[in-house]
């Protein structure tokens, strides 16, 4: 049945399915109809709208851009490579303490010692202010000097080091001769520092955070506002909508990547060994994988509160296991294959290998496969589960 147009156009042939133009002449025969829309008009408008929305949300600017920089800065400062960590040693103020201090001060570059009342020294040691406490004993040893007692914590590497260092300095000062002549040369390359390890990890974590929140949270918010339902009541293609959402993530990814790596390069003099193209490709793949996971977590949830819980539940294991702040080699070897199957682990490993070692993508097919499989699986599952209303 042909819908009659009510504006007096009678050009429809009876029995012919109405052509779009005839139908869309709609109510209007009115003036001022806009130009007909092109195929990708909806996609572009959705992408622009999403970008503007994010840009106008101060929280997004903070969490996506500022927070990772602050984290990198804070951790970079806290764990900066100090010019040889000089052990801090407290000498308990007892008889003979002065003599010990004098011996220790003969090599100030390898030991920082001071005399402190005994109670305060032990308390400071407990709080980590001193790495070692030297308690001069009462009796005289065989050499005529005081007997020394080292209080150290075998579980703290810097404490163990301080004991070795202090013993060496004091023994040498007391006249021990070194039978073997040695020399040492300092060598610390950018690329092996903690900040070099950290920045690619933070980049991966940030892509995960902003992907999961940017897609998952936004979708549930749209659903709760009934905006998704309003959109599907229009001729908008659902694929255009999801494509625009994913594209907005890719745009954001470029900025996140440039900011964090730029920060590492300019503030911490980080060196990027691999190709930028490879890094951007990895970033895109990571952003896509986490956009997919975000879509999956948001496919059914009706309330913002419930999706927040889900997102945290999904991200939690990856924060812990995927080697953001420390290497996952510290976990028992049995679980390494499981850890490597997580998308964030694959992304972090690939980013580190590319940025720090300059490994080409062709050498990391396994990691790429992990990311691709996560992306494909989550998008497929999400699309079959997704509720628009």
């Amino acid at each position: 049945m042909t819908p009659p147009t009510r504006t007096g156009h009678t050009s429809n042939l009876a029995g012919v399915t109405p052509e779009p133009s005839a139908a869309a002449a709609g109510i209007a025969g009115r003036n001022g109809a806009a130009k007909p829309n092109a195929r990708w008009s909806a996609y572009w408008h959705l992408l622009i709208a999403r970008t503007k929305e994010m840009q106008r949300e101060p929280e997004v600017i903070f969490w996506v851009f500022l927070f990772p920089l602050l984290l990198a800065f804070g951790l970079g400062i806290a764990f900066r490579s100090r010019p040889a960590s000089v052990p801090s040693v407290a000498i308990a103020a007892r008889a003979g303490a002065e003599a010990v201090l004098q011996m220790a001060q003969r090599s100030p570059q390898s030991l920082h010692a001071q005399i402190v009342p005994e109670a305060e020294a032990l308390n400071g040691f407990r709080l980590g202010r001193y790495d070692l406490v030297i308690v001069p004993g009462g009796e005289t040893g065989s050499t005529g000097g005081p007997t020394l007692e080292y209080r150290y914590d075998p579980a703290r590497p810097e404490s163990v080091l301080a004991r070795e260092q202090a013993d060496n300095v004091l023994q040498a000062a007391a006249g021990r001769a070194n039978p073997l002549p040695t020399s040492a040369q300092a060598s610390s390359e950018p690329g092996a520092r903690y900040i070099d390890f950290l920045i690619p990890g933070l980049l991966g974590m940030n892509l995960m955070n902003s992907g999961m929140w940017g897609v998952g949270f936004a979708l549930v918010d749209y659903r709760q506002r009934k905006l998704l339902k309003r959109y599907v009541a229009t001729p908008m293609r659902r694929s255009d909508f999801l494509l625009a959402l994913t594209s907005s993530r890719l745009l954001l990814m470029i900025i996140e990547l440039a900011l964090l790596l730029g920060f590492g390069i300019f503030v911490f003099h980080m060196r990027v060994a691999g190709s930028w193209l490879a890094i951007v490709l990895l970033g895109a793949l990571g952003a896509a994988a986490f956009a997919g996971l975000g879509l999956l977590t948001a496919s059914r949830a009706q309330k913002i509160e419930s999706v927040s819980g889900l997102i945290n539940l999904v991200m939690m294991p990856m924060w812990v296991f995927s080697g953001v702040f420390f290497s996952y080699e510290r976990f028992p070897a049995v679980v390494h294959p499981l850890i490597r199957a997580l998308p964030l682990t694959a992304l972090n490993d690939a980013l580190r290998a590319t940025i720090l070692e300059g490994a080409p993508l062709s050498a990391q097919l396994g990691r790429l496969a992990v990311l691709l499989i996560w992306t494909a699986m989550s998008f497929l599952l999400a699309l079959s589960w997704f509720r628009w209303t």
């Binding site: 049945m1 009115r30 929305e53 506002r225 309003r230």
Partner: protein, 314 residues
């Protein structure tokens, strides 16, 4: 026929019957109202017609096309305002309308729609900063920019102040003047009386009455309502039922019901009934405490049909 549906049923699991067999025929160019209390099934019905819900059984035709075969095409023809959509707060009014315009093959110009809905001076304001009335007009603007042939409005004026309601009514009439078809749901009887050419009253998922507002009111049997209250200090205090018999027997009275302490008479000719009523009261030795007359409204139709008021929670 713009919209036709036959035997629409919608059952939500486990056993909630939201619609229990709905038949509608809405002609092109008319404004049709679905009326009913909250929970009557209005929104379920309109969302099925909009293609957003699948009916459990029944058939829907929009300009002769069905949702199963021509969904994408149908969407080009419909402009929809859902109940309580919260559009993106951080987009401006113009950006929102342009976004919706981009979904349609041949939308109307954003500028024209902005002017028509009185949103021109708000066009650069964020949606989050709009008043309730402005938001509702924006929701209708997102529907009108589609250049639709049918406008679906689900409770468009709920919660609005009187002035905003009137503005929206004017917008709806304007759309209709240009030949558009309107389907709206409301639980305001006065709104339906003013706007709708025809309407259907829905209760518990079924149509309990349909027709033009005048026809429905005519079906009451009289177009006037006489409401009164008496202080009954007479010796032979009769039971309520007995006195109802007395009122029913007065000349020109078509129906009697009690409502909130008042006795309501549906009357054809007040000038005949009222003198008789006064006489009857004085004959009883009762005292008249209250007496008003007014035109019958759709509200009276609803009360008459269901024994309940429209806005009472059912």
């Amino acid at each position: 026929m713009a919209i036709e549906c036959r035997g629409l049923r919608k059952t939500y699991d486990p056993k909630v019957e939201a619609l229990r067999g709905l038949d509608l025929e809405i002609r092109e160019g008319e404004c049709f109202g679905l009326l009913g209390p909250n929970g009557a099934g209005k929104t379920t019905a309109i969302e099925i017609l909009e293609g957003l819900l699948k009916p459990t059984s029944g058939d829907v035709r929009i300009f002769g096309h069905s949702w199963q075969t021509d969904a994408h095409e149908l969407r080009e023809w419909l402009g929809i305002s859902l109940q309580e959509t919260r559009l993106a707060d951080k987009l401006t009014v113009r950006e929102t309308i342009e976004l919706f315009a981009s979904f349609y093959r041949r939308p109307r110009s954003t500028k024209e729609v902005l002017a028509e809905l009185g949103l021109a001076e708000k066009s650069d304001a964020w949606v989050g900063k709009l008043s309730g009335g402005q938001r509702q007009r924006l929701a209708v603007a997102t529907a009108l920019v589609a250049n639709p042939r049918i406008l679906f409005l689900d409770e468009p004026t709920t919660g609005l102040d009187p002035q905003s309601r009137r503005q929206l009514w004017e917008i709806i009439r304007e759309f209709q003047r240009h030949g558009g078809t309107v389907l709206l749901t409301t639980h305001y009887m006065d709104e339906a009386e003013r706007l709708c050419n025809r309407l259907a009253i829905i209760d518990y998922g079924q149509i309990i009455a349909a027709g033009s507002p005048a026809e429905l009111i005519e079906r009451l049997g009289g177009q006037h309502m006489v409401e009164f209250a008496i202080g009954n200090n007479s010796h032979d205090a009769r039971s309520g039922r007995d006195s109802q018999q007395v009122w029913r027997g007065l000349p020109g009275v078509e129906a009697v019901h009690a409502d909130d302490g008042l006795v309501c008479l549906t009357v054809r000719q007040p000038h005949v009934t009222i003198p008789a009523l006064l006489e009857a009261i004085s004959r009883q030795g009762a005292q008249l405490l209250h007496l008003t007359t007014r035109q019958a409204s759709l509200e009276d139709v609803f009360v008459r049909l269901t024994g309940r008021h429209l806005r009472e929670e059912s």
